[in-house]
Structure formats: C-alpha cells, structure tokens
C-alpha cells in the first residue's frame, strides 16, 4: 500500500513537472517608472494581458541600478526580467556581447519615426524595440503667472535675457529659472537645448559621433557666451531635486522650468501650462525609451511578442494617458489636447537624440557631474569644458 502511495505521489509530481502542466507563464517587465508614470504604464500591460492571456508582472528598477545589476546577472547567464527598459547604448553594447535577443522581423521598421530604431540596430539586426518618447521642448511657464506679471514669450535672445531680468525683479521669485537636479540629467537637458539652438543640430550629432570636440570654439562659445553669463547673473537657481523644483516653480518661487513633455502629467492643471523653446531653436531633443529581451529569458517567444506589442499597439494605449509622444504611427486623436500642442513644437525643427543618453557610459556621469559644478561655479567654465573633452577622449 505504502509503495502504491509513493508511486502515485511520484507520478503526480512528474505530471506537474511537465511543461504544459506547469504554472502559467508569467513575464516580467522592468522599467524605472514609478508613481504616476507607473500608473500610466499599467494600462498598457493590462491591454497585453487581455489580448494574449499571458500574465505580466511589473518591477521598478532605475536605469542607474540596472547598469550595475544586469552585467553581473548576464555573466551568470540569468536575468531579472523578460523585457527590460534601458538606455539604448547599454542595449547595443550588451547585444555585441551576446546578452540580447535579436528581434529582427518582429516589428516593421517602416511604421516608426525614421531613425528612431537606429540606436538599437547593429550589423543589420534589430536588438531592441523603441517605445514612446519624450520631447524636451524648452522652458515651461504658467500662463496665469505670465498674465499676472505682464510677461510674454521671448522671440530673440535679447528678449530672453530681458525676460530673465524681469522675472528676477518680481517679489517672491527666488530665481528666474528653476534648475532641476536628479542624478544630473535635468541640467544636461538644458545644456543640450542650448547646444542644439546656438551651435546647431549638426554639432549635437558631431558631439555624439565624436567628430566634434567639446573644446571646439563653436561648442565652447555656447558655454562661455550663453550659459555661463546667465548663471553668473543668477538667472538659474542652484540645482534643486527636480520634483521639488517642479513644486516650487508651480507655486511661483521660480518663473521658468526646463523639463520634458512628461511634465504635462505631473501638474494640477495642464491647461495652465505654456512652453517655449530658446529663440532660434533649430533642433529639439526627442528621447524615446528603449526596451530589449535578454538572451536568458525563459520565454523567448512570449517576451518577443510582448516587446513587439509594447512597441506598436502599446504606444497607442500609452499616449492616451498623457505626457508621451509615439514613435509608432499613432493617430493624433489618440493624444490628449495638451500633448498635441507639444508634438506641434517639433514641426520645423530637427528631432535630435538625447545626447548624454546616446553616448552613455562614464562620460554621461561625468557630463552630469561637471554641469553641477558649472551651475554653482560658472567661473570654472573652461575647466568644465576641458574635463568633458578629456572624458570623451
């Protein structure tokens, strides 16, 4: 009798171990979105679950933390997630090392904004999917604040400087422009906007491709003749944690705030938002998010299916929640009104890749750090530019 029971138990365990009888497949998606950003992303995953019946788990990891975690995991031939949102340079680098699954043919490149998949293409193969992007159009202001103080959007550089001067004189305003600080990226966004405007989109590309040096007179003049004088005049605040800076700017401690288009989903009244680019702006950073399937996923077919969904129909669901601009052919009607306005800023300008996200690596961290120094010590601008070039070499 005992033998029979043992045999039955073994049989039951064996049946449960069969692939078909195993627990249902569950994919894990990892990205850095938390709070309101995560809330806006969850409907996308729900839509995938509804369409395919495959369960999806979501985990939050910052890209900075993934940069530490993933190389060790990959060397151990394992992965914490099946689809992971990460910097494009990181995906390309690890694709070269064989840690990323090829998704060529899973999405139709012609359906995407031209060039948006280039950062994750290597040897004529596609190693990642492009998701929605965020536009970094320029300086945001509250329409009500501008109306109250009789201010207007500047049309020239001199008018921009004049506007900063007027803002500084307003009682209760700590500084004309709030400088957001995270690990350093909000300052890099501002700097990239200045470079794209006063050196030009070609220079941005040249810096990314290392064909132009940071010490080049054209680049250096952006720092010495545009940014440093504004910083010396006290027109920028000292770096403030960016979500705190957002609150302070919204309540009127600062007049302007440079931020990406996701800001529309982070304020109480998006209708009160206005935005302008630096006068003469020729290129605006359009920074899409990228995702990839690690080579060590247990469910390669399903993970590829999820990535393809995220890159296509998932974008349509995402843009409806606000703050995102699609890289996939999504009808304009899918956007909330405020984002249609943001998307219109791209007209007549060149869409540029995010400079520091594209270069990445140690240089990116150095860029952020040197800009933090520049912001509080604009007199050291020469040293900052030299250090950026030294790190780029």
């Amino acid at each position: 009798m005992k033998r029979k029971i043992v045999a039955l138990l073994i049989l039951a365990i064996a049946i449960c171990s069969l692939p078909g009888a195993a627990a249902e497949k569950k994919l894990t998606v990892i990205s850095g979105w938390s709070g309101p950003e995560m809330d806006a992303f969850m409907p996308v995953l729900k839509a995938f679950e509804k369409e395919t019946g495959i369960k999806v788990d979501y985990q939050i990891y910052r890209a900075e933390d993934l940069a530490v975690l993933l190389p060790a995991q990959f060397n151990a031939k394992t992965t914490p997630g099946d689809v992971i949102y990460m910097w494009s340079w990181f995906i390309a680098k690890h694709a070269q090392d064989g840690h990323v699954l090829d998704i060529t043919g899973k999405i139709n490149e012609a359906d995407f904004i031209p060039g948006s998949l280039d950062p994750v293409k290597l040897n004529n193969k596609l190693w990642g999917g492009v998701y929605t992007g965020k536009v970094k159009p320029g300086f945001w202001y509250r329409k009500s604040f501008f109306e109250k103080h009789g201010l207007s959007v500047p049309a020239t550089w001199d008018e921009f400087v004049e506007l900063c001067g007027k803002l500084k004189k307003i009682s209760g305003v700590k500084a004309p422009i709030a400088s957001g600080n995270g690990v350093g990226w909000p300052l890099s966004d501002i700097t990239e906007h200045f470079i794209a405007t006063y050196a030009g989109p070609d220079v941005t590309h040249g810096l990314i491709n290392k064909k132009i040096k940071w010490t080049d007179p054209v680049v250096k003049s952006v720092f010495t003749e545009r940014l440093a004088p504004l910083l010396k005049a006290g027109y920028f605040s000292e770096p403030i944690e960016w979500t705190m800076a957002l609150d302070l700017w919204w309540r009127g401690d600062y007049g302007l705030f440079f931020m990406g288009s996701w800001i529309t989903g982070m304020v109480d009244n998006p209708d009160d938002l206005g935005v302008f680019s630096l006068p003469g702006c020729k290129g605006i950073v359009f920074a899409p998010d990228y995702a990839f399937v690690p080579a060590y996923t247990k469910y390669p077919a399903e993970a590829r299916q999820l990535l393809a969904f995220l890159a296509t129909r998932g974008q349509e669901v995402q843009v409806a929640t606000g703050g995102h601009i699609a890289t996939y052919r999504v009808p304009l009607s899918a956007y909330p009104p405020v984002d249609r306005g943001v998307a219109s800023l791209l007209k007549g300008t060149v869409a540029l890749p995010d400079l520091d996200d594209t270069i990445g690596g140690e240089w990116q961290a150095a860029f952020w750090d040197q800009l933090k120094l520049l912001w509080v010590s604009p007199g050291r601008v020469d040293e900052v530019v030299d250090n950026l070039q030294r790190k780029a070499d």
């Binding site: 690596g361 933090k372 520049l374 040293e383």
Partner: protein
Amino acid sequence: MGQARGRALFFVPALALLAIFVVYPVINTVWLSFFTPEGEFALLKNYADVLSEPEMFDSRGFERGFPYGALIHNVIWIVLHLPLTVMLGLVFAVILRDVKGGAIVKSIVFLGMVTPMVVGGIILRFLFDGNVGIVPSVLALFGFTPRTLTAYPDTALFSLIAGSLWLWTPFSMVLYSAGLETIPDFVYEAAVIDGASPWRIFFNITVPLLRPVTGVVITMTFLWVLKIFDIVFVATMGGPGGASNVLALQMYMYAFRQFNPNAAAVVATFLMIVALVVSIPTFKAAGGEE
C-alpha cells in the same frame, strides 16, 4: 588524534565558505589588477594609470580648491572624521553615563547607527538643502545666505563628513559606554577621596583605562571611512565636479560606468592594502595584551 580530526571537521564548512567567498575573490581581484581589459599582463601599469588620473589625485586642487581627487578626499575624511568620532563618542558616553534619562538620549543618538546608510544619504541631501534643509536654516540665523551645501564644491565634502558623524558617532558611543561599565567604581571613589578634579579623573583614569576600546573604535572607524560609499553615492554622487568623490565610488565608476574591472580591481587592491596596514597592528596589539 581521532578526536582532533573530528574537531577539525567542524571547521571545514566555515573554511570552505571563507575560501569561496573571501579568499578566492581577494586573490582574483589582485590578479585582475595586473591585467589590461584585453587580458594582457601589465604588471603595475594599471596602478600607474589609475593613480595618475585626476579623479584619484588632482594637484590642481591645491591652487583652485576642490576637487583634489578621491585619494585626498578620503584622507580629509579620515583626518576630520576619525578624531571627531572618537571624541564625540567618548564625550556622549561619559556625560550620559550617570545622567537621569541618559538611556533615552543614548537611544536617540543611536538612531543614526540603525539608519541604513542609503536612507542616511537621502536624509543628508535634504538636511543640507537650501530650500527645506535644517542646516542652512540654522546657519541663516547667524547671517549666512541659505544655500544647498552639498551642491557647492567648497562645502560638499565637509557636509558629507558632518553627516557621517551623525551616522557613525553612535558606534563609538556604544563601545565607550560598554567600556565605561568595565571600569570598577572603587577606582573613581579612590580618586575622589584623594581630591582629584573631574577633569583629572577623566584624563588620568577614564581615558587611559579605555585605551583598548579606543583602539577598536579607531580601527573600525578608519575602515568604515576607507570604504565609505553609500552616503556619497546617494547624497552627491561624488559631485559637484568630483568635489566629494571617494575611492569606493571611483571603484564603482570604473566597474559599472567604464565597465573596466581591471581599473576597479586596482582601487580595490589599494583599499585592501591600506586596510591591512591599519588593522594588522591593531590585531597584533590585541593579541599581545591577551
């Protein structure tokens, strides 16, 4: 003999774990530091390259101010943090020893010790923030312009050092408190009968009898400061412009930003050698006393 073998068997699991998780990584790290990322033997070239980088030692700092490089920043940290931790821990332990409610105050001081370093780093960031921080607000009462102290190169490192005192002083306070309990009361009673002043009692009885504890506090604090990483990473990321960079953070940058494990191994080996140089004499001294 058989009994001895039986006893020795009990060491095997611990020894195996030590060999796998301590000895092997240490040897591999040192080994790695002598090779280039391409796998070529380089002897000390990696050391020369790493130590000559401005991130490690920047002589220009002596003319223009911070940054001086991670190496000098660690030295500054040790020079300031070590004596202050020893002194404050001793003072807290002595003052709170016989004070009514001393245990409650000690518990409050000890909060810094039980706070995870990452959380401590975040708290530091806000403590020194120009908009919401208590430190700039207090300084403003004395006429200083409020500013984010961790954002400026001349104050970032000193702010972190001040914050680390809050996080680490409880450690020395607890050790000194335990040490004080081992000093017999009759020693103090005899001193009082002989007419010794409180200062004399402190410097001639308390301090000398706590010397072994001081040795442990100095060694542990030195090692803690040498490997300081968490609060710097979270509060300033070594900035601005590398003004608060430290050796452990630079090691992280080499490993996970440059993806250069060989350069990271150089810093790790350097830290290990310094740690050994400091800790071995202490352990020897402890063995001698035994």
